[in-house]
């Protein structure tokens, strides 16, 4: 148990409680409930064991599902972005990602925002697709993905800047 593990666990509980007690009750305009717990995947260390990330994402999704009575669709979307994470990172950060001493803080802000936005986009698409689960409502799914996704991105960026690690 080093201090990094404890930080991870505290972050886990902070994000779950913030999500289920605050952000799940926002209901802005009747349907916008931003999902800010995706920040967990953004903050997760770059070079960490992927198996542990998958297990952590499974537990994270399951906990959120347990509170929101959404069957296991948060779990499915969480698992998928955890699995896709390294691919998305390679897409966003290019060859830098393969260097041994690569850190998230050493990339440009634009790259970081793209990374977060892609995580949110994939997550929301899987989530709303499974939640509504019909092709006839494809427009409704796209509408929800775009609007809720935008709200999630804005709020995640605000929280990210609130807890940002000092650069340099």
């Amino acid at each position: 148990m080093n201090s990094k593990t404890i930080v991870h666990i505290i972050r886990f509980f902070f994000l779950v409680l913030a999500q289920v007690l605050v952000f799940n009750n926002l209901n802005f305009l009747g349907f916008i409930n931003p999902m800010i717990y995706i920040l967990y995947f953004y903050w997760y260390p770059v070079k960490e064991n992927r198996a542990i990330l998958l297990l952590a994402s499974f537990i994270l999704g399951l906990t959120i599902d347990l509170f929101s009575d959404t069957m296991a669709i948060h779990t499915v979307s969480c698992l998928t972005i955890a699995y896709m994470r390294s691919g998305i990172m390679r897409f966003c950060f290019g060859v830098n990602y393969d260097f041994q001493n690569f850190k998230l803080a050493s990339t440009t802000t634009l790259q970081q925002i793209t990374f977060l936005a892609l995580l949110i986009l994939f997550h929301h698409f899987i989530f709303f697709f499974l939640e509504i689960f019909s092709f006839s409502n494809l427009l409704l799914i796209l509408k929800k993905v775009l609007i809720v996704g935008a709200a999630s991105l804005v709020l995640s960026l605000l929280i990210r800047s609130l807890f940002s690690i000092q650069k340099k």
Partner: protein, 270 residues
């Protein structure tokens, strides 16, 4: 053998992903086809108590409005009581002859932005709650109990695509089923009303007599607009709910005392 082990080690993350994904999809499909899974919802001890704590704090902010709702309801009931036609009572009915009993509870978690919404309340098996009991507020119905734990219960809200409730037009007694098209959380749809029925905007819709869950004539909402369905033989009617689904605090659970007898009777026929 060596190759199989090598393959497993090489693809361990992919295999782990597929394994966990199968569990998650299994849970989703299982609760889609049947009632919610047994432990995997917010009635469990852990989630229930956290919601209870949070609701203990937030209820203070709406006490004034809740008082007003209760006063309004009391006023309505007293009005009925005082204006009742006086009649000769030859016997006082005993409590055991009641066919419906009411249990009260508070909402600890409510959602209305998804397509399958559930409400969690802080009463459960200890208070005598069971699956398939109707739940209403002072203004109208809100759903049916889907799963209970010792201290909490989960209600399938009328804002749930799985929900169908028997409802009828108050003035003509034609009945149909109440469903939700996920578009607006204060509007539900009444379907299967035949074409020949005369409908007016503003008509009241109440619960029907076809269900053993709700007593007849509990208010639901008023008709805002209506249109014929694609096959043009029945109406799709939009109903604006009396109860604001975004603001549900105190609820009544309706317990049908004759339910076991009724079920046995129906079983005998089949």
């Amino acid at each position: 053998m060596q190759q199989i082990i090598n393959f497993l080690i090489k693809n361990k993350n992919g295999l782990l992903y597929v394994f966990l994904l199968t569990i998650a999809l299994g849970l989703t499909v299982q609760s889609n086809s049947y009632h919610q899974s047994k432990y995997f919802n917010s009635t469990n001890w852990f989630a229930g108590n956290i919601y209870q704590t949070s609701s203990n704090i937030t209820t203070y902010f709406s006490l004034e409005q809740e008082n007003k709702t209760l006063l309004d309801e009391n006023k309505r009931l007293r009005h009925q009581l005082f204006n009742q036609a006086l009649e000769f009572i030859d016997s006082i009915p005993l409590d055991t002859t009641l066919s419906y009993n009411l249990i009260t509870a508070n909402v600890v978690k409510n959602s209305y932005s998804l397509s399958k919404n559930y409400i969690t309340i802080n009463a459960g098996q200890k208070q005598g709650l069971e699956q398939d009991m109707g739940v209403m507020t002072a203004n109208g119905i809100i759903g049916i109990i889907e799963r209970t734990s010792p201290k909490f219960s989960i209600i399938q809200s009328i804002l749930n695509t799985k929900s169908t409730i028997n409802a009828k037009l108050k003035n003509s007694n034609y009945f149909g089923s109440l469903v939700w098209d996920t578009k607006d959380f204060n509007t539900v749809q009444l379907t299967d009303i035949p074409r020949m029925v005369e409908i007016k905007e503003g008509d009241t819709v109440v619960t029907g007599a076809m269900s053993s869950i709700f007593p007849e004539n509990i208010p639901i909402g008023t008709i805002t607009d209506y249109s014929l369905n694609t096959s043009e033989n029945s109406y799709n009617i939009n109903i604006s709910l009396f109860q604001d689904m975004a603001n549900v605090k105190n609820v009544y659970i309706i317990k049908n005392e004759n339910l076991t007898e009724l079920n046995e009777l129906e079983k005998g026929i089949e």
